[in-house]
Point group: C2
Chain length 344, copies 2
């Protein structure tokens, strides 16, 4: 349940009101990365659903069937990771134009199966439906976690530090390259393109943070830091200050920004689809945090700012000034595209 598109937030909020809070065992519902069901015995179920639509989330000109299947699972697994859970089971619903024939549909399934193997997920059901014109892949994933370890979007406290699990901007740069907006030498382009086509959900980092109670709030970076940090701040009733000079750029993003005629920082903050985890953690936990990541053999989380009172999300520039960090998205893709050219 990532991949939120801008003004969709208001719609989802209205829908949440229509659906109501649900019975008491529903610990988290609309407005978190995954729904959380407390089924007793200290364990909970995490549950999410996400759809990839041809022409919106992918183009067949640059993505093959197996990559599509892989990514459809990965974006769901990322939602489970962002709650601190283990991904366990998946169902799929493949919307398939019949004239494409069955081989491609099977290849989507093979990509799904390969990713499922990688992430420890069993694909236990699904169906295919005829879809006119475009391919759509919906995947729903169930995960599990100890109830006491779940980390929600809403727990950020004033003074907490803000971290990301890895450098940013690669997926957005890769997408622009795939769309032919510019070109770069193969060795620079390849990791960027791969970041877009084959995102790596941060299951191990999410579990580590949850198991050791090292984070107060988490969200996966599907829409980009600007939008997703805003979601986290709104859920927690807090503001945030990001330090521009601390935003970690993935390898090649500077080069890509240059040939694309764009700002590297914009790619990192608004590009989306990095599928790193953004989380908050009290400053006093910093040594434990770094030690836990080191011990697990994971790259150290990268500090990018801090939680402040209020509701503003500010970007502090190296020269000292700051600006309000607009989410940069608006009602659905078109409007978003009008304000943010790279995905055109």
């Amino acid at each position: 349940m990532g991949e939120k598109i801008g003004g969709e937030v208001e719609l989802i909020r209205e829908l949440a009101r229509v659906f109501g809070p649900g019975p008491p065992e529903v610990v988290a519902g609309i407005g978190d990365d995954s729904a959380v069901l407390d089924l007793g015995q200290g364990e909970c179920l995490l549950w999410t659903v996400d759809t990839l639509v041809e022409g919106v989330h992918f183009e067949l000109s640059y993505m093959n069937w197996a990559q599509l299947g892989r990514k459809a699972l990965a974006v769901n697994v990322s939602d489970i990771a962002a709650m601190g859970g283990e991904a366990r089971y998946a169902l799929f619903s493949l919307g398939w134009p019949p004239e494409k024939g069955p081989a491609g549909a099977l290849a989507v399934g093979q990509g799904l199966a390969q990713a499922a193997w990688d992430y420890g997920v069993a694909v236990i059901g699904g169906d295919t439906v005829a879809s006119p014109l475009v391919v759509t892949v919906t995947v729903t994933v169930l995960g599990r976690a100890p109830m006491a370890e779940i980390i929600r979007r809403s727990g950020a406290q004033v003074g907490d530090l803000i971290y990301v699990t890895g450098p940013l901007g690669a997926a957005a740069a890769g997408l622009a390259l795939l769309q032919g907006q510019a070109s770069l030498p193969q060795d620079v382009a390849e990791p960027l393109v791969r970041a877009h086509l084959d995102p790596q959900p941060r299951l191990a980092a999410g579990r580590l943070l949850a198991r050791n109670h090292l984070a107060t709030a988490m969200i996966d970076l599907s829409d980009g830091v600007a939008a997703d940090l805003r979601h986290l701040c709104q859920a927690g009733g807090v503001g945030a200050r990001l330090l521009a000079e601390k935003i970690p750029l993935a390898a090649g993003v500077k080069e890509a920004a240059r040939v694309l005629g764009r700002e590297a920082l914009e790619l990192a903050l608004r590009g989306g689809e990095d599928y790193e985890i953004l989380f908050t953690s009290p400053p006093r936990r910093r040594p434990s945090l770094l030690a836990a990541f080191a011990e697990a053999g994971l790259p150290p989380p990268l500090e990018v700012g801090e939680i402040i009172p209020g509701e503003e999300v500010l970007l502090v520039m190296p020269e000292g000034g700051h600006k309000e960090l607009g989410a940069g998205f608006d009602h659905f893709r078109e409007t978003w595209e009008a304000t943010f050219p790279p995905h055109r």
Copy 2:
């Protein structure tokens, strides 16, 4: 996971091979109405997903947003009912053309919420994604049932009687009327149209059959008796003999067939979308079966045939001859439409 379209069966079988059987707690996966997860303590989770696609499963010319939301939930709940479970929780993924504006999307949600209330389901999450051109609604539902009560597709035994929980053909007749293929007086047309727009999943009947161990196999009638009985027979490695004169026609189906220039029996056997439950039960259980339905205040199940050795599904005609009952569907909708005009 109903709504199978014909030759999709082979594709799903191939995909099942790709995905493998899953870990031991996966009691049923691809090839049943719902996946079944044994989570211990004698309880299991039932899990299903279904997508409705504009232009394939519905047209906005005759279906309003709230009806679409209702039906998207109902067809999923029907899959839970057909395993003998209670439907409990739902997530949705709404593919929405942004230019349609948010009011319609909210109305889909309101229809979903209303149906959820009717069926005892809590909608606990979801998202909306931009979708070019057509509206799609994917819903995934979790249900629960005691592990010992689950009824699968595969349990039919030679000699079992075949029943349906209600009369057939109304939804197919209603669709044809909605499409303007013919017209009928309002009092005759209305229940037929309603059967298509607002199917009633047979939760109570499914639970009753499961709780009292009265059925050996069950499936919901999404594709029609011809196709769904074939699925049930293939899963159980058995054949079936249906008696044409026993096929129960819903009120108005004869009149509709006449004005449509079609056979009422064809509407009942191949029309699909009746969302009754088809089940098998040993002849000796017949008195208990009828008593249980009567006691629960449910209409008596209707006997339509019996399970026989082999793999043929035969339709015995009133005059005494019989014919092989082809499933009538083929690879996806187009081919299906070519052989079965009403959905054109």
